[in-house]
Amino acid sequence: MSSTWVIAGKELLDLRRDRLFAVLIGFLAIATLISVGVAAASFGTELDAYNLYVQQLAASGSTTAPAAPQLFPLQLLRGGVEYLEILGALFAIVLGYGTVAKEKYRGTLQLLLSRPVGRFAIPAGKVLGLAVVWLVVVAVLTLLTTLAILVIGSAPLQGIDLVRILIGAVVAWVYLVFWSSLAIGITALSPRLSTGLIVSIVVWLAFVLIIPQIGDTMDPDNQVPGGLFAALQIQKPDELKVLANFAAFDGIRNGLEVSSITKHFERLSFAFLGIKDKYNQLPLGLVWADMWGYAITLAAAAFASVTFAVGVTTRRNLQRKIS
């Protein structure tokens, strides 16, 4: 077995024994399941309100009833996707940091470096190990949320829905590997281990929370509860016509959003899962035609992050740590 595989195997064994890892993944799983349950409860409340309204209409002698709210099962995953983009990224950073930090804390780094390991074996093994871990975690989360849709949401799933969920899982895996690799690289470059963690968290804060938040709050439709255009009773085609006059502002707002890798993950997931209304029930080919650019940038970012981690995690950088 090559050194890379040996180190990857060691990472898997370490994480299997790590209580912190179990707690983090457990928290993520519980938050994701809760989000499915809450979304199902919210739909139930909406349906109850509709039924009451229809009853009142019938009692008043009216024969016309408004369209009933319709449940699209995959839309129950919206909260779960958002948890992955925020908390998943944070936990990916923690795991990436931990793979480098533990070698120093335990004093195993010197032992590891005393063996005949190749230049790239240590970082590549660590990235590979984490990639396998995230593959397993994403697979388990996917299985749990699919079951939650069926059991908690009481929503039937078609074959195409399972394909969409699978695509969403692959996108999530690439996103999480991006963050873990970035944290490995930043920790390797930082002279102090705690600095590595804090700098990684600052990067997370900027790209996961702040930049998307600025874009979101600059959206004219997000200025009043329930949406500005809904409050003004303006239909979608008219809304688009009006907004066309503010293309420069929207360009800056969108530019800010897409400078964050998180938005690429979010838009891809929302499109393939049909969470965004525009893509709901749209054939996968048409979704891909609209989304391939995001898929490429996400993949390129993940590749760049892995290259960064492997490139900067050198013997010299690892050994110059202060504490």
Binding site: L24, F27, S35, A101, I198, L243
Partner: protein, 299 residues
């Protein structure tokens, strides 16, 4: 000088020397200042959108932003306080208590006739002064920018509201600094000490509000409140999760203080909840046993 003052001064000196803390402080101050500009640009655009809609004859509804307070431009700052400010406070709190344990200086300090409550309260006071200074700098510049945008200095009423918002922000940040101090004192590993308060923060900021109102996690980062689900399950659950959602209580009270037209109600209960958290957290930290402060790290 007594233990309390020495500890407070020492904490301020350490924060001044910590480079990682500086990164967060700069990001926080920068974003609070930028938030006024973002708010102004957005408001100008939305007013333009409304005027276009009216010119095209698409609505007769009144302008939802007519006559909004100049403080409306500061509403994004609410989000940056609970996002960046809280995380900054956590890092400062963790570093305050963990530093002594890592360097084993706590053994030296406690070998002197030092009362642990005085030592911990002194550290807390030092952190509180740092947080107050950061808030004062960022909100003063924010006040100036809003005055420039407004074309005149903010009046006494609005200035008072900015000060009240600053005080409330200080309360929230001190709560999270205390959380950081607590995990810095109780954790066996440095990673856990930093991570546990982040997990608690994310649970408080995202999970609790979602359970009680069905608000999407990302929408909680928007200063405009999401339309909450009500009735049945949500009424029962939000009665329990609402008071525990410290960040949502802060958002609500701040929006009232800043005259946000989208939020109505009384801020008193929310402010009392925040103060109750501050007192409880302070007591929990101050009552930390002496041997806990001296426990080593296992990493």
């Amino acid at each position: 000088m007594n233990t309390f003052l020495v500890s407070a001064r020492h904490e301020m000196l350490n924060t001044r020397r910590a480079r990682t803390a500086h990164i967060l402080l700069i990001v926080f101050i920068g974003m609070v200042i930028a938030s006024s500009v973002i708010g102004w640009v957005t408001n100008e655009t939305v007013t333009g959108v409304y005027e276009k809609v009216v010119a095209d004859g698409l609505t007769t509804a009144p302008n939802p932003f007519a006559g909004v307070s100049p403080l409306y431009y500061a509403r994004n700052a609410v989000i940056y306080v609970l996002l960046i400010g809280s995380l900054m406070a956590i890092v400062l709190g963790v570093q305050a208590t963990l530093r002594d344990r890592k360097a084993a200086t706590v053994d030296l300090v406690l070998s002197r006739p030092v009362a642990t409550p005085a030592r911990l309260l002194g550290q807390l006071a030092g952190l509180s002064v740092v947080l107050a200074a950061v808030i004062t700098i960022s909100f003063s510049v924010s006040w100036l920018i809003i005055s420039i945008i407004n074309g005149a200095p903010l009046g006494w009423d609005d200035t008072g509201r900015v000060i009240a918002f600053g005080l409330l922000s200080w309360v929230l940040l001190t709560i999270f600094a205390l959380l950081g101090m607590l995990t810095g004192l109780r954790s066996k590993q440095e990673t856990t000490a930093l991570l546990v308060p982040f997990v608690i923060w994310s649970a408080v900021a995202f999970v609790l509000p979602q359970i009680g109102t069905a608000a999407r996690p990302v929408s909680l980062l928007n200063p405009v409140p999401a339309v909450a689900s009500t009735g049945g399950y949500f009424d029962v659950v939000s009665a329990f999760t609402g008071p525990l959602s410290v960040t949502e209580q802060f958002k609500f009270a701040s929006s009232i203080i800043l005259h946000d037209p989208n939020v109505t109600g009384e801020a008193t209960v929310s402010i009392l909840i925040l103060l109750a958290f501050l007192i409880v957290m302070s007591v929990v930290v101050v009552l930390t046993p002496r041997n806990r402060m001296r426990s080593g790290l296992h990493e």
